[in-house]
């Protein structure tokens, strides 16, 4: 499937889109009324171009849907409640969480998506995979767990253990792979060195790390720090609770994500005009459809993820589209400061490319009078080879070069900034608050 000619892939996508659209139209009161109001019916979809006539669904709409019956999912639910076997919810980082109902078949599908990506990253039955995350209502790496079982890997759930215990357990059982957010991958390495006097790249056997939840694994400086700290290959993957695991970096590490186009339809739109973007190197918002998820369908979901197509083909031979740099940011986070487009990922790339700076940082954008100000807080690494003054000068130059903006820099001693385990909140735009 992954090497299917593009022409055939498009035919498959059209067939599958028609199927899920018909399903939602027939079984979800929410979807049917949305489509009827837009004047579009299943028989109107005769080509992929027609897909763009189908109204998009946003997270806020799902929140409204879920205030209706049947409790707690509302009228987008396409199956009887007793068919639902899995409850998860979004992390709530952008507001009230959305509930995600899945049937057992949907859950099989989730792990199928993950199995596809893990296999592409070199996971095999001989792997012993450690999952150092809190198994709870957030979907996080749950499907990764089930996918490992599907592949035949040995899965070690690192659930309620603390960070030190997780590291020691990985060492004790010689785990060969793990999955975590980039923030936690770096945080664990730090704890290993600082608290346990272990060098993960020497004392542990981790050879593959799959990241999710944040863009870091495709930010070059962050990927480099993680790979050096662990002596492992670090792979990115992209997904969301409401969507599924739609994108993955393969073993060839092309600096881009493959879209799993046999299971998802990915469209890219201009953030402001919603016009379709089909050419490479032009960033836009990802609108995505999951073809095989049936309890609560995901059809033209506005993911708010900013991505851009890449024209090159990957050395791995897959014909799936490539997204350069993976998820470049969130439409909510990429903002104009002093008239310049600022992506937090660009700041992260600068901070983590400078030896002598720690991994943590925080960006605060605020208005002073009529003027935008950006404060960047960073930490000086304990083993910094240069003086704070040299660091500040280096940072200032690189930021100006890479982001074309000036910053108020605050250099703190190591350990002052907050640490995160799941989704880090390092970007704060206080202007939005004062606008409300």
């Amino acid at each position: 499937m992954e090497t299917l000619p593009r022409e055939s892939l498009k035919k498959l996508q059209l067939r599958k889109f028609k199927c899920i659209f018909q399903w939602a139209y027939d079984n979800s009161r929410f979807h049917r009324s949305l489509y009827k109001a837009a004047g579009i019916h299943p028989e109107d979809i005769v080509s992929l171009a027609d897909v763009r006539r189908v109204p998009k669904v946003e997270k806020a709409m799902m929140l409204s849907v879920q205030s209706k019956e049947p409790f707690p999912y509302g009228d987008a639910l396409c199956v009887p409640l007793d068919e639902v076997t899995e409850f998860r919810q979004t992390s709530g980082t952008t507001g009230k969480p959305v509930y995600q109902p899945d049937t057992w078949q949907d859950w099989e599908w989730w792990s199928e998506c993950w199995a596809t990506l893990l296999w592409a990253q070199g996971y095999r039955p001989r792997d012993r995979v450690f999952l150092p995350f809190g198994y709870n209502v957030f979907v996080a790496f749950w499907a990764g767990h089930y996918a490992c079982e599907k592949i035949g890997c040995e899965v070690v759930p690192g659930g309620v253990l603390d960070t030190q215990s997780r590291i020691l357990k990985m060492k004790e059982i010689r785990a060969s792979a793990m999955m975590a957010t980039p923030t936690y991958v770096l945080g664990m390495a730090d704890v290993a060195v600082r608290k346990l006097n272990l060098d993960p790249s020497i004392d542990l056997d981790i050879k593959k790390i799959t990241c999710a939840g944040e863009p870091g694994a495709l930010i070059p400086a962050t990927k480099k720090r993680m790979e050096q700290a662990w002596g492992a290959k670090v792979f990115d993957h992209a997904g969301a609770t409401e969507i599924g695991a739609w994108g993955f970096e393969c073993e060839a590490q092309p600096g881009a994500l493959h879209v799993n186009e046999a299971m998802f339809l990915a469209e890219i739109e201009d953030v402001e005009t919603s016009a379709a973007i089909t050419e490479p190197a032009r960033p836009g918002k990802l609108v995505i459809t999951a073809f095989d998820r049936f309890a609560q369908p995901c059809i033209r979901f506005d993911s708010k993820d900013i991505v851009e197509l890449c024209s090159e083909r990957c050395d791995c031979g897959r014909t799936y589209s490539l997204l350069r740099g993976g998820v470049l940011g969130r439409a909510d986070d990429i903002t104009k400061v002093k008239g310049v487009l600022l992506a937090p990922a660009a700041i992260e790339d600068v901070v983590r490319s400078i030896p002598g700076l720690g991994d943590e940082y925080e960006v605060v954008v605020e208005k002073r009078g009529d003027v935008d100000h950006i404060t960047l807080k960073v930490e000086i690494a304990e083993d910094s080879p240069v003086t704070p003054e040299q660091l500040e000068a280096h940072l200032k130059t690189e930021l100006r070069l890479k982001t074309n903006l000036g910053y108020d820099l605050q250099l703190h001693s190591y350990g002052v900034l907050p640490r995160y385990e799941v989704k880090a909140k390092r970007f704060k735009d206080l202007r939005k608050k004062s606008d409300n």
Binding site: M1, S8, L12, E108
Partner: protein, 54 residues
């Protein structure tokens, strides 16, 4: 491609059998629930083999 078509055909056979087990096992919960899970796995096989139609 012929072998893929053959596999797809065998998956349809499996589906028919599993569906029949499911439909006739209302009063045998263990069989009914296991048949339901098998049907979900069979659906994944159908997705794997969609390539056979090209």
């Amino acid at each position: 491609m012929d072998s893929l078509k053959q596999m797809a055909s065998e998956v349809e056979d499996l589906r028919r059998i599993a569906q029949s087990l499911y439909d006739t096992s209302d009063d045998f919960p263990a069989v009914n629930r296991n048949a339901k899970r098998i049907l979900a796995s069979i659906q994944m096989l159908r997705i794997n083999l969609e390539i056979s139609s090209f």
